[in-house]
Symmetry: C2
Subunit: 394 residues, 2 copies
């Protein structure tokens, strides 16, 4: 067992233990994650950074040996911005003329070992579990996180239990099963599923790799630090260019917050001139960040609650904006945009027509990114969070 | 349209046109590919090579613009070589003691945009098609090549027709369909399927991205040059180390031959000290290279014909050893090893138990690689050709 950096609440700064978020803020009805201090990247040579969480181990809150399946260092693919109908159906004169629109790039996280960005977090989270002496890790997941948890647990030789519900596509279930994890299906609500995981964490001391408490603070703080590598890779790959916005499909905002932290570390070390704007992309059916940012007072924003409906973007869907996401957006002049299922489905097809197979939850990001690239000269990156392969035959 | 380097038969050195292989050698009953000259890599700085076919465009026989989805630069993951039963069930004293076995690494090609190594070839092949002024590309495929052809054709805005048979898993069919390709299912033999493609190439001048003639010479010569990038990446990633063997799951030997050509270019330019040994890994049910190399006379080897049976490694299965593969093995002190379906299935499970989801055809490679790493100090790389995700829910 190795020493772990201390965790503090992002909102009230109180020191915290465990992985259920800040209890003080939870008592106020606000789910706030606790996190280790930001890393000091001074002296890092980004050009020599090989990508992935373990490419900059000094930025991670884990001092034990790496657990890796080759995650990270995913490619950026430039999307076509030639004429296409805007999502609201309106014809846009500028977009009709290719010269007048900015650049949209897709960072393809589907190329990760289990097919999603979750691998970056689970590589670090499972390493933290090993360092903590855990024998069993647990994840509550609608799919991709469960598959990633299963894979990295297998890699490290740990037992893995995945708490799922019945919405999970067959391909994802098969992947989790093939990786040797124990899948516990809870037919009830997400709250029931999380409560079951909370009991297991409490009773058996299983190591939690994902969020399981309510209101959700977001995922395991150590695991989430793996997402900072997305920012490092973007800073390396777009060195010398002004990156205007990074669009992130958002549910509990683990990825959004992690990317934001990565850019803050880079800016603090002078490795980038300025942090790009962050944009949370949500399905209209479950868009707590979009709802929150419509309110003017931050005290109202952090207490926003919406009624989530089912959506084709099945990986997404929260009722409250996790505070870590609001924090990331506030710090990065960020905003949130919600798109309806029809637009998300159309974008999924549009990506396929460019050769890219992504799940609908990922298409939310590129659809929003296209909107932000309507100004000439803009450079926008959408995070394409997961491959669409798992849902194809399900 | 841009100029293309001339093609010559690998065996008889005659100049050739078209993509049906050498007609002179075919008349002798031997399927031999025609290829452009090897590239000159003198002066290349491998440490700065970013990976992928387009990372060294001067090594490719295409002078037009790249077609890319971010293929290549895949990770190498070290496999566990701790005690495990040998595939024949025999207990091996050396393998029981972890210190006494060599290193086995898996190059995970499932991280490519469509989930297989085929992306490296199709990126280059579709660029060659664009440079040749093609409007429609065609592929005859049991799956992964069809999906890759569909994706890169979509990327380049070309029409794509994929000739398949009924063995193709549902996940792969769904992927090809989602990418907008036209799938023509031929219920008959592979020969029927290929004949249909041959007619289309002849009548409609469709640009062939895969093999379609009989005896098969292997795939499109320009496309195949994309596979050289696997060798370049290995040379970069294992710089300063002695790479003893590279094990390649083999059917028509496009990948095997491409990797061999890449290493030859590297050696000729002094970028590696020596070429690693190449090993063709085959399912016992369809193992023409293993059968051929049991014969002593090369004239007998190249005329070998076996009766292929069905196998869990459904992506593999030829009746004759494509000459390009024999050539690669002869030049690299190579050999071929065949494993039965039980062993292949066990290795697929063993990889999953390490967190890696690969298709059975890919597991053939790592199972063979483990055999070659039984000597202390050996360093063996298996090419993990494709993700197992496509077959999971099929």
């Amino acid at each position: 067992m190795t020493s772990r950096p201390p965790l503090h609440c992002l909102r009230c700064a109180r020191a915290a233990e465990g992985f259920a978020g800040c209890r003080t803020c939870a008592a106020e009805g606000i789910g706030v994650n606790t996190m280790p201090p930001l890393a000091d990247l001074a002296g890092v040579d980004l050009a020599a950074y090989p990508g992935g969480p373990w490419g900059l181990p000094q930025a991670l809150p884990v001092s034990g040996p790496p657990v890796t399946l080759g995650e990270g260092d995913t490619p950026c693919v430039r999307l076509r911005t030639d004429p296409a109908p805007a999502h609201d159906g309106r014809s846009d004169g500028r977009a009709q003329d290719g010269r007048h629109v900015g650049e949209v790039w897709l960072k393809y996280e589907g190329g990760n070992p289990t097919g999603s960005h979750k691998d970056r977090a689970m590589a670090v989270g499972v390493a933290a579990a090993v360092a903590a002496g855990a024998g069993t890790v647990a994840a509550a997941s609608s799919g991709n996180a469960g598959a990633a948890a299963a894979a990295y647990a297998a890699r490290a030789g740990l037992r893995c239990v995945v708490f799922t519900n019945e919405k999970v596509p067959a391909g994802l279930c098969a992947q989790i099963d093939a990786l040797g994890a124990e899948r516990r299906v809870h037919p009830g609500s997400t709250a029931d599923r999380n409560a079951a995981m909370a009991r297991a964490v409490e009773e058996h001391r299983w190591y939690p790799l994902t969020s399981y408490s309510s209101p959700s603070p977001g995922g395991n703080p150590y695991a989430n630090e793996g997402y900072k590598s997305v920012a490092y890779e973007l800073a390396r790959d777009f060195a010398g260019r002004r990156l205007d916005a990074v669009v992130v499909p958002t549910s509990r905002a683990d990825l959004l917050a992690g990317i934001g932290r990565g850019f803050r570390e880079l800016a603090a070390a002078g490795l980038i001139d300025r942090e790009p704007r962050l944009v949370a992309a949500e399905p209209s059916a479950a868009a707590p960040f979009t709802a929150a940012l419509r309110r003017t007072d931050r005290a109202d924003q952090e207490r926003t609650r919406i009624a989530a409906r089912p959506t084709v973007a099945f990986s997404l869907g929260e009722e409250r904006p996790c505070w870590q996401g609001l924090d990331a957006l506030w710090r990065a002049a960020g905003t949130a945009v919600a798109l309806d299922d029809e637009t998300i489905t159309a974008e999924t097809r549009r990506l396929a027509a460019e050769g890219l197979t992504l799940e609908p939850s990922s298409a939310v990001g590129s659809a929003v990114a296209r909107e932000f690239a309507r100004t000439p000269g803009t450079l926008v990156v959408a995070i394409g969070t997961a491959t669409g392969l798992k849902g194809l035959a399900g």
